[in-house]
Amino acid sequence: MMPSQTYSAIVWRQFRKSRLATVSLLFVVVLACVAIMAPLIANDRPLIMRDAQGFAAPALHLPARLRGVDMQLFTQNPPPGVWLIMPPIPYRPGSYDLGAVLVSPSRAHLLGTDGDGRDVASQIVWGTRISLSVGLIAVGLAVFIGLILGALAGFYGGWIDIVISRFVEVMLCFPTFFLILVVLAFVGPSIYNIMIVIGITSWTGTARLIRAEFLRLRSREFVLAATVSGARHLRIMRRHLLPNAIAPILVAAPFGVAGAILVEASLSFLGFGVPPTEPSWGSMLAQAQRFMDIAWWLTLAPGFAIFATIMAYNLIGETLRDAIDPNLKT
């Protein structure tokens, strides 16, 4: 091994060895792109169009001259002289057609339509936004809270540790999913509330990991040396302790994201999720229940989307864990 290699480079090399994990990482990146570019992939407005007044990109920005125009009619029968390119899925997740309820997958609707006549593919595409943002923000919040509380408890010990440890115990004792339900009943379901509730109920793992690492490291020579040389506590934590403790958090994070996505889907499935105007895979599945044996595509598409996403995150976490495990290095 080259001595100049940094720790992260070693981990990355280990990670790259797993083809599945690399594919998963790629999949997550693609998902993120789909989420960001959802309006360009599934939209009932043209990507690019040209009419008498010149070029426009209505999918990104609706020009004033098109306001109040029924897009469905406009794009299906464009007026003479108008030239347009539609996105690959020419439906918004909200646009419905009561003339096409429960249509099976076809050229017009790649993944069929649901019980309200809405395009399933379009909803899957826009649903990535909900799933990914819930996953990332909830875990971000959880890591943030866990990091601060765990660091305080591990670094200072004493009564601060006792108080925080009790608090962790309090949180651990709640049946988490039940607690989330109760809190959501209180604050009302919305995507932000779901993110926050998942975040504030799932930080205990991070806190415990950080606390343990800090406890282990704080009596090491390099920390003592820094303390003796008069460095401020915050600086010691940030510069000396955190970099050494961050690895287990990195491993836990992908699993956390997978878990949060699953919790969001479960909540939506139970009817505690996001509003119907925001397409979510979980609520798609909940709606699909009624049509299970007459419209298989309704169950299959969102179920597979949830599965594939969770699977990708879990594979990344799994591979990261192996990559940083010093015992398993070959």
Binding site: G68, G188, F272
Partner: protein
């Protein structure tokens, strides 16, 4: 002794399990003369005075009885626990003479005291019967008349007084009058009535079981027992029925239209459809600036494609309505045609009302208020959800921002009670001849059931006069005028009345469709294959 190898232990256990499963000993036979059906949830409580949910009321209708009954064929009041009755000329007092020889299911004779006790209980403010008490606020006195008579005296004449007193299920004094607190009385879970079925068992979350009461005073039904299985998902209940675990059940429109078409199903089950009184509507809060103008409300109605909703979401199992009265009742004014789905006309109405996009942000506004509102719907209601999705799309096209928001039933009730909402969708079960007072009278706008806040002096006068009118034809005239006022004002958008769809195992005979539903009291039982419990 040699210890058995792990492999042989595993094999042994597998063999044992296989033996247990293959010996058919673990299946239980199901009696063919017991009817099994399902409920989506537990009844809250099995006491006809305290129960407020439809599940409990359905079960209790077989256990408890009122003084009178509604004949399911003719829809006329007929004797039940009362043999005969009499009303005073001024319509202020009603006297009932109770039947002789009726016994409670525990053998105690039924007396006038039970009737008196029932109504005293309802009027007792400590009893959890707020809703019922509301109906009897004008009840001045309940008197005993001789041994077998009981007289109700009201302060005001009211055409529904007779049916209210007569249809109220009577509860036994000797059980509930023992000094224990009514609200937590143990008999609330082990009811004793006078009806054809007696309570047998209630396992919370699993089932409620009723057995035929062999000492019933009237004609005994052929069905020996009724089992209500509690299954929270309608999809699961439907699958269970197809497996042969249920004999009769309500099915959803999609199941009716698309999942019960195959021959195997129809060989096993008969399908029944009827339209009991109910109506669904979108309530607009008329107190809000955007919904205070009848023009706007008419426009909203014209923006909801009710015909398509009934056709595609209810799979045709409903009728578009424009009135709160029973679809097949004589009260409905059939000269009124519901407003058509006509977005172009709606835009004209909106423009005329002064809601125009003044500031050019794509949203209509008036006096600085943008036309932006929240549509609340309960989490359980799938149709309300779909309507929210449609409104958001369609209203956006005409420059109105509608945000559908799912909300729990408990929270929705609270907000509606405070009148703190913009729009919502609700369904009411009505009566054959309902009294519009509670929902449409202006006195109910503050804290009553008049959610939309509809207030019209002429409509008020019509409602009040109808309450005092005992001639049905005259009432019908009054109600028709009332409907024309409501139609013009569109305080709510009436959506449809939906069909009740039932499926019954074919081993039951004489299953007759009545306009209001089925009556299993009259069913017979034919031959059938051996049935198993699932």
């Amino acid at each position: 002794m040699r210890r058995p190898s792990p492999r042989s232990v595993v094999l042994g256990v597998c063999a044992l399990i296989a033996l247990m499963i293959s010996s058919c000993d673990f299946r239980v036979e199901r009696s063919p003369d017991v009817l099994t059906t399902s409920l989506l949830g537990d009844p809250t409580i099995l006491n006809p005075v305290l129960a407020t949910d439809a599940y409990a009321q359905g079960i209790l209708s077989y256990i408890y009885q009122g003084l009178l009954d509604l004949d399911i064929e003719t829809m006329e009041l007929v004797p039940m626990l009362a043999e005969r009755w009499e009303a005073s000329e001024d319509h202020l007092s009603y006297t009932y003479w109770i039947r002789e020889g009726v016994r409670w299911q525990d053998g105690t004779p039924f007396t006038v005291d039970d009737v008196l006790f029932t109504f005293e209980t309802i009027l007792d403010p400590k009893v959890d019967a707020a809703r019922l008490r509301n109906y009897f606020r004008n009840l001045k006195a309940i008197e005993r008349v001789g041994d077998r008579g009981v007289r109700f005296v009201f302060t005001e004449p009211y055409f529904r007084a007779h049916i209210m007193c007569g249809r109220q299920p009577i509860i036994p004094k000797h059980i509930f009058g023992d000094g224990q607190e009514m609200n937590s009385h143990p008999a609330n879970r082990t009811p004793v009535g006078t009806g054809p079925y007696r309570f047998a068992e209630w396992k919370t979350g699993q089932r409620v079981r009723l057995d035929r009461f062999e000492g019933y005073w009237g004609d005994k039904p052929a069905i020996r027992g009724i089992v209500y299985k509690i299954i929270p998902e309608q999809v699961t209940a439907f699958q269970l029925m197809r497996k042969g675990g249920l004999d009769a059940d309500t099915v959803s429109a999609v199941q009716w239209a698309r999942q019960t078409e195959d021959r195997a199903f129809n060989e096993r089950f008969s399908k029944h459809r009827f339209f009991p009184p109910n109506y669904f509507f979108v309530a607009w809060n008329n107190r809000k600036p955007y919904f205070s103008d009848p023009l706007v409300r008419r426009a909203m109605t014209m923006l909801i494609d009710r015909e398509a909703i009934v056709r595609e979401l209810l799979f045709g199992q409903g009728h578009v309505i424009d009135s709160s009265f029973y679809l097949y009742g004589r009260e409905v004014d059939r000269d009124i045609t519901p407003l058509p789905y006509d977005p172009a006309q709606a835009v004209k109405l909106l423009d005329a009302s002064g809601w125009i996009d003044h500031d050019g942000d794509g949203i209509r506004d008036k006096d600085g208020t943008p036309f932006r509102f929240v549509y609340l719907y309960p989490a359980e209601s799938r149709l309300a959800r779909s309507i929210g999705i449609f409104m958001r799309e369609d209203l956006a096209k005409v420059g109105i921002d509608c945000e559908p928001r799912q909300i729990e039933w408990a929270t929705l009730l609270k907000l509606l009670g405070e009148r703190n909402y913009d729009a919502t969708q609700l369904g009411y079960t009505g009566q054959l001849e309902s009294d519009p007072f509670q929902v449409w009278h202006s006195s109910q706008a503050e804290a009553g059931s008049n959610l939309s806040g509809f207030a019209d002096a002429r409509a008020d006068a019509l409602i009040e006069e109808a309450r005092r009118t005992f001639d049905r034809d005259r009432r019908i005239e009054l109600y028709r005028e009332f409907q024309r006022i409501v139609h013009a004002a569109q305080p709510v958008t009436f959506l449809f009345t939906s069909a009740t769809l039932e499926v019954v195992d074919r081993r039951f005979t004489d299953v007759v469709d009545y306009p209001m539903g089925l009556d299993l009291m009259k069913w017979g039982i034919g031959p059938s294959a051996v049935l198993y419990e699932w």
